[in-house]
C-alpha cells in the first residue's frame, strides 16, 4: 500500500542540496569582491607598472611617497585607537556599570558621533579653528581675536582630535556591549574573596573586558588609518600626507600604479591590525560569559562623583555631536566664518546667482550641480540598500541553510573581506576593475552602475551581518515547517520569511542607506563630474574655499542621516540591549 502511494512521487537528487544556490552566491561574491582586489594586485605586477613597487618602497622618492605618510598614518592609528578606547571605555563604564545621572541619554548620545560623517567634524573644526596660514577665511576663534597657533589649526593635532571624537563611539558600542555581559556576580564573587577596588579592577574587570578593548582598539585603528576626509581637509593644506591622501593624490595625478601600490600597503596595514586583534580575541579563553542564569546587575555607586563625571561625559559628548552641528549650521548661514553668529543670510541655502557674492555661486537649492548630486546620492542610497539587503540576505540564507562544505565557508569569509579594505583603496580597486572595458562589457567608469556595484560590494560585510540577524530572528524551524507543507522556495520566502523579517530588513536597509550617503572615502575616487555625489561635492567646495556651501551640504547630509537613523532604531527593537535594566 505504502509503496503504491509513494511510487512516482520520489525524485532523484542530482545535486547535493543547495549546490546551485551556493555556486551562484559564491560566483557573485567573487565577481564583486575578490576580482577587483586581485585585478588591482595584478595591475601593479604588469611589466610596465611593476616599477611602481620599487618607486614606492625603495626609490629616491620613497620617503616622501610612502614612509612619511606611513609614519603619519601609524601615528594616527596608535593615538586615535588609544584615545578611543579610553574615551569609549570610560563612557561605557559610566553607562553600564554606574549610577551616573541620565545614563540612557549618555548611552544614546555616545552612539551619535559615528552617525555624523567624519568630514562634518573636520569641516566644523575648520570653521572654529582655522587661522590665516593658508589664506582664505579664518575661523570663528581667530575672528574673535584669539591667535590660533598653526599646530592647533592644521595638521596632525586637529586630525587626531577630530578622528578620536569620531571613532570613540565605535569603541563605546563594542565595550558597552561587552561590559553588559560582565555579570555583576563575577565582581561580587571577588568581593567575597576579600578583594578590594584596585584588585578587582586589575584582577577581574580588566582581564574579562580585554577582548572587547582589543577589538575596539583594532577596529578604531583600522578606521582611523583608512580615514580620508579628515586628514585631507585638515592636513593636505599644510602638506601633511597619510597613506589614504597619498593614494588619492597619486590617482588624481594619473600615477595609477604607484597609487595602487600605496593602496595595497594600506590594506595590508589595516588588515594586519584587524587580524592581530582578532587573534587576541578569539584565543582559547574567548570569554563568552560562563553562566546558567544571570544575576541582577548591581550598579557601582559613584556618590559625590556622580555629577562631576556626568559633566565630563557631557563635555565629550557635546563637543563631538552638538557643537559640530551648531557650528556647521551657523557657518552655512554666516557670510564669514570669523563672525559665525552675525549677518546671517540664507544665500548659501536658497540665494540666486549674484556675481558680487561667493563668485556667483547660487545657493544650494538653486544650484543645479548640487541638486543633481542630491538626486544621485539619494538614488544611490536607495539602490544600494536594496541590492545590499538582497545579496546580504541571499548570502546569509545560503550559509545558514547549507552550513556544510567549503563553499559555505568561502562565502562567509569572502563576504567579510571588505572589512579589511579601507574605502579609498576599495574605490581604487574598482577603478582598476571596471574602469576599463572587460571583454564585451563597456567600461563602467563614470556610470551610476559602477557606484552601485562598488558600494554594494563595499558594504556587504554589514548587509550579510544584518541578513544573518534577520534569519536568526526568523528561525530555521519556522521555515522548515513551511517546507514540510510543500511550499516552493519562492513561495516560502514570500509567505513566511519576508513577512517575519521585514522590520529587520527595513532597519538594515536604512542603515546601509545612511552609510552610503555619508560616505566620502569610497566614492571620492569613483566620482566624476557627470555622476556627482553630495559628499564629494561638499569636499570639493571645502577644498576650494567655499566653506559655507560645503557646510550647508553637510547639514543636509546630516539631517537625512539622523532622520533615517532614528527611523531605523525605532524599527530595531533591541538596538541597544545594554541600556535595559
Amino acid at each position: 500500500m505504502a509503496d503504491t502511494a509513494m511510487s512516482g512521487q520520489g525524485r532523484r537528487v542530482f545535486f547535493r542540496q543547495g549546490t546551485v544556490l551556493k555556486t551562484v552566491v559564491l560566483a557573485l561574491l567573487i565577481a564583486m569582491i575578490v576580482l577587483p582586489l586581485l585585478r588591482t594586485v595584478l595591475f601593479t605586477l604588469q611589466p610596465d607598472t611593476i616599477r611602481a613597487w620599487s618607486d614606492v618602497l625603495t626609490g629616491r622618492l620613497s620617503t616622501n611617497l610612502f614612509y612619511k605618510p606611513l609614519g603619519n598614518t601609524l601615528l594616527i592609528g596608535v593615538v586615535v585607537s588609544t584615545g578611543c578606547v579610553l574615551l569609549g571605555g570610560f563612557l561605557a563604564w559610566l553607562v553600564v556599570m554606574t549610577n551616573v545621572p541620565f545614563r540612557k541619554t549618555i548611552g544614546v548620545m555616545a552612539t551619535l558621533p559615528f552617525m555624523i560623517p567624519s568630514f562634518a567634524a573636520a569641516l566644523a573644526w575648520g570653521s572654529l579653528f582655522r587661522n590665516d596660514r593658508v589664506g582664505g577665511q579664518v575661523g570663528w576663534l581667530q575672528g574673535m581675536g584669539l591667535d590660533i597657533p598653526d599646530w592647533l589649526a592644521w595638521g596632525i593635532v586637529p586630525t587626531l582630535i577630530v578622528l578620536t571624537l569620531h571613532y570613540f563611539s565605535l569603541a563605546f558600542t563594542i565595550i558597552a556591549a561587552a561590559l553588559a555581559t560582565v555579570n555583576s556576580d563575577l565582581v561580587e564573587a571577588a568581593q567575597i574573596a576579600g578583594a578590594r577596588g584596585r584588585r578587582i579592577l586589575m584582577g577581574i574587570v580588566l582581564p574579562v573586558t580585554t577582548p572587547a578593548l582589543v577589538a575596539a582598539g583594532s577596529l578604531c585603528f583600522a578606521g582611523a588609518v583608512s580615514n580620508f576626509a579628515t586628514p585631507a581637509l585638515l592636513g593636505l593644506p599644510v602638506r601633511m600626507q597619510t597613506l589614504s591622501t597619498r593614494l588619492f593624490g597619486m590617482i588624481e595625478v594619473g600615477q595609477v600604479g604607484r597609487g595602487y601600490v600605496i593602496g595595497i600597503m594600506l590594506v595590508l596595514i589595516s588588515g594586519a591590525f584587524l587580524w592581530a586583534g582578532n587573534r587576541v580575541v578569539s584565543g582559547r579563553r574567548s570569554y563568552t560569559t560562563i553562566t546558567g542564569k544571570g544575576g541582577r546587575a548591581k550598579r557601582f555607586d559613584l556618590r559625590r562623583a556622580r555629577w562631576p563625571l556626568f559633566g565630563v561625559a557631557m563635555i565629550i559628548l557635546l563637543s563631538s555631536t552638538v557643537v559640530p552641528v551648531i557650528v556647521l549650521t551657523a557657518s552655512s548661514l554666516a557670510p564669514s566664518s570669523a563672525n559665525l553668529f552675525s549677518d546671517w543670510t540664507l544665500h548659501y541655502w536658497m540665494g540666486r546667482s549674484d556675481p558680487s557674492f561667493a563668485q556667483g555661486i547660487p545657493g544650494i537649492a538653486h544650484n543645479e550641480d548640487i541638486v543633481r548630486a542630491l538626486t544621485i546620492t539619494l538614488g544611490l542610497g536607495l539602490a544600494v540598500s536594496f541590492s545590499g539587503m538582497f545579496i546580504g540576505l541571499l548570502a546569509s540564507y545560503t550559509t545558514a541553510r547549507f552550513r556544510e562544505g567549503w563553499m559555505s565557508a568561502a562565502i562567509t569569509q569572502i563576504s567579510f573581506l571588505p572589512l579589511l579594505v579601507p574605502g579609498i583603496a576599495f574605490g581604487a580597486a574598482y577603478i582598476a576593475y571596471l574602469g576599463a572595458p572587460i571583454g564585451p562589457f563597456p567600461a563602467l567608469y563614470g556610470t551610476f552602475a559602477l557606484l552601485v556595484i562598488a558600494a554594494t560590494a563595499y558594504l556587504l560585510p554589514f548587509s550579510v551581518q544584518t541578513g544573518r540577524a534577520v534569519i536568526q530572528q526568523v528561525g530555521g524551524e519556522l521555515e522548515e515547517s513551511a517546507r514540510i507543507t510543500g511550499a516552493s522556495f519562492a513561495h516560502r520566502l514570500a509567505a513566511i520569511t519576508v513577512p517575519l523579517a521585514i522590520r529587520g530588513l527595513a532597519a538594515g536597509g536604512i542603515l546601509i542607506f545612511v552609510k552610503i550617503i555619508r560616505d566620502l572615502s569610497l566614492v571620492v575616487l569613483l566620482f566624476t563630474p557627470t555622476m556627482p555625489v553630495l559628499s564629494v561635492v561638499a569636499y570639493r567646495y571645502a577644498s576650494e574655499g567655499f566653506g559655507q556651501f560645503a557646510n550647508a551640504i553637510t547639514v543636509v547630509i546630516l539631517f537625512i542621516s539622523i532622520a533615517a537613523t532614528l527611523i531605523a532604531s525605532r524599527l530595531q527593537t533591541k538596538s541597544q540591549p545594554w541600556l535595559q535594566n
Binding site: 561580587e188 576579600g194 578583594a195 582559547r284 570569554y287 542564569k293 544575576g295
Partner: protein
C-alpha cells in the same frame, strides 16, 4: 549557630523579604524553599553580606554580622562565609586552578599551602584532571563543581548555595545532590541552600524554611512539613505527590465538598479539606464520598500507580495499588476518606 531576627528587605516599595526569623544550630543544613520570586536569593545575599537588611539582624555564632536597624554590616569577605552563585560566576579568564587559587591568594595564604589546598579541594570534588582548563572548556556540571571548590577552598564556616542544581540536567542533579550532602558532612560547615525544588529540600535538609511572598510560611524539619503543614501553601507545595486540597462550602444545612453534598462536619463554614494522596482511593461506582472526575494522568511509581483526575479546575491525585481500567479522558470515581487529614481556613491557616 545561625540566627536571623526579624529580617526585612525592601527595594523601593517592593518588600522582597518580610520579617523573617529563623535559627539553626551549627552544622545544620538549612534549606530555603519557595517558588520563584519569593525572596530566597535576597535573603541569601543578605546572609552573604552583599545586601544590607532594611530591618533586623543576622547573627553568626553569637556575633552580629548584619544589622539593618543600625545600617551596619560586616564586609562580605570578613564574615567567614562563602557563596556559590546561581550563575556560578566563574572568572572566565582564569583556569580552573586559577579560579580556586585566587581567593586564597587574596587571603595572602603562602604559596605552598595554597597549592596544597587547591589540589585538596579539586580532588574532593573530583575535578583534579580539569585544573588547567578554562571555564568555557568544561561542561555545566563541571563548572558547578569548580564554583563549589572555589567557595569551600578558604574553609568558610557558613556555606551559602543559590539554586546550585537548577542549571543541571535531571540525572546530574541527583548525583550532585548526594555529592553536596557528602561535602556537607566532610566540611561540617553550616549550610544554607536555596531551592524551588521541594524534592531537593526534603532529601537534603535538616531544617527547611518554606517561603512565599517574602514571608516564612513554616520553619521545621522535613518530616514536620509533611506531617504537620501549617498552611495550605505548605501543604500543597511540599510532598510527592502533593496533597489534595478540596474546597468546602456551607450549603443550607449541609456542606458541599468539591461541589457535592457529603456528610462532613468542618470546623468553619468556608474552608478547605486536605487529603493525602495515599489516603484516597478509586471506586467502581458512585458512593457517599465519591467525586466524579475526568482521568487525565496515570503513572507507575514504585510498584503503585499515581492517578490524577481533573474537573472544574479541581485537581485530585491518588496513589492506588492497581491501575484503573478506564482510559485517559474517561470518567472515574475518586473516593475521599471519611475524614480529611487537616482543615485549612480561607486565609490558608490550619484550623484543625
Amino acid at each position: 549557630m545561625l540566627e536571623i531576627r526579624n529580617l526585612t528587605k525592601r527595594f523601593g516599595n517592593v518588600d522582597a523579604v518580610r520579617d523573617v526569623s529563623i535559627s539553626a544550630p551549627g552544622g545544620a543544613f538549612l534549606v530555603l524553599l519557595g517558588p520563584s520570586g519569593c525572596g530566597k536569593t535576597t535573603l541569601l545575599r543578605m546572609l552573604a553580606g552583599l545586601e544590607l537588611p532594611s530591618e533586623g539582624q543576622i547573627v553568626f555564632d553569637g556575633q552580629t554580622v548584619s544589622d539593618g536597624d543600625r545600617n551596619w554590616a560586616v564586609d562580605p569577605a570578613k564574615r567567614n562565609s562563602g557563596l556559590v552563585f546561581q550563575s556560578y560566576a566563574l572568572w572566565p579568564h582564569m583556569s580552573v586552578r586559577g579560579n580556586v587559587d585566587w581567593p586564597l591568594k587574596v587571603m595572602k595564604m603562602p604559596k605552598a599551602a595554597r597549592a596544597e589546598r587547591v589540589d585538596e579541594v579539586l580532588k574532593l570534588l573530583d575535578i583534579g584532571q580539569l585544573a588547567e582548563r578554562y571555564p568555557n572548556e568544561i561542561s555545566g556540571g563541571q563548572q558547578q563543581r569548580v564554583a563549589i571548590a572555589r567557595t569551600i577552598a578558604p574553609k568558610p564556616s557558613v556555606l551559602l548555595f543559590d539554586e546550585p542544581l537548577s542549571n543541571l540536567d535531571a540525572k546530574l542533579r541527583v548525583e550532585m545532590r548526594t555529592e553536596l550532602m557528602r561535602l556537607h558532612r566532610a566540611t561540617g560547615a553550616t549550610t544554607v541552600y536555596v531551592t524551588h525544588d521541594q524534592i531537593e529540600a526534603m532529601t537534603m535538609a535538616t531544617h527547611v524554611a518554606v517561603m512565599n511572598h517574602g514571608r516564612v510560611q513554616q520553619f521545621g524539619s522535613p518530616s514536620d512539613l509533611v506531617n504537620h503543614p501549617k498552611t495550605a501553601f505548605v501543604a500543597t507545595f511540599v510532598g510527592t505527590p502533593p496533597n489534595n486540597m478540596v474546597p468546602v462550602v456551607k450549603n443550607g444545612s449541609g456542606y458541599k465538598v468539591g461541589g457535592r453534598h457529603m456528610p462532613l462536619t468542618p470546623p468553619a463554614d468556608d474552608c478547605m479539606a486536605m487529603y493525602r494522596a495515599e489516603a484516597m482511593s478509586l471506586s467502581e461506582s458512585e458512593g457517599e464520598t465519591t467525586l466524579a472526575m475526568e482521568l487525565v494522568e496515570t503513572s507507575a511509581i514504585a510498584g503503585r500507580t499515581m492517578v490524577t483526575g481533573l474537573r472544574d479546575g479541581l485537581r485530585l491525585t491518588a496513589i492506588v495499588d492497581a491501575a484503573p481500567e478506564a482510559g485517559i479522558g474517561d470518567t472515574i470515581q475518586f473516593c475521599l476518606p471519611p475524614r480529611p487529614d487537616s482543615w485549612f481556613g480561607p486565609d490558608g491557616e490550619r484550623i484543625g
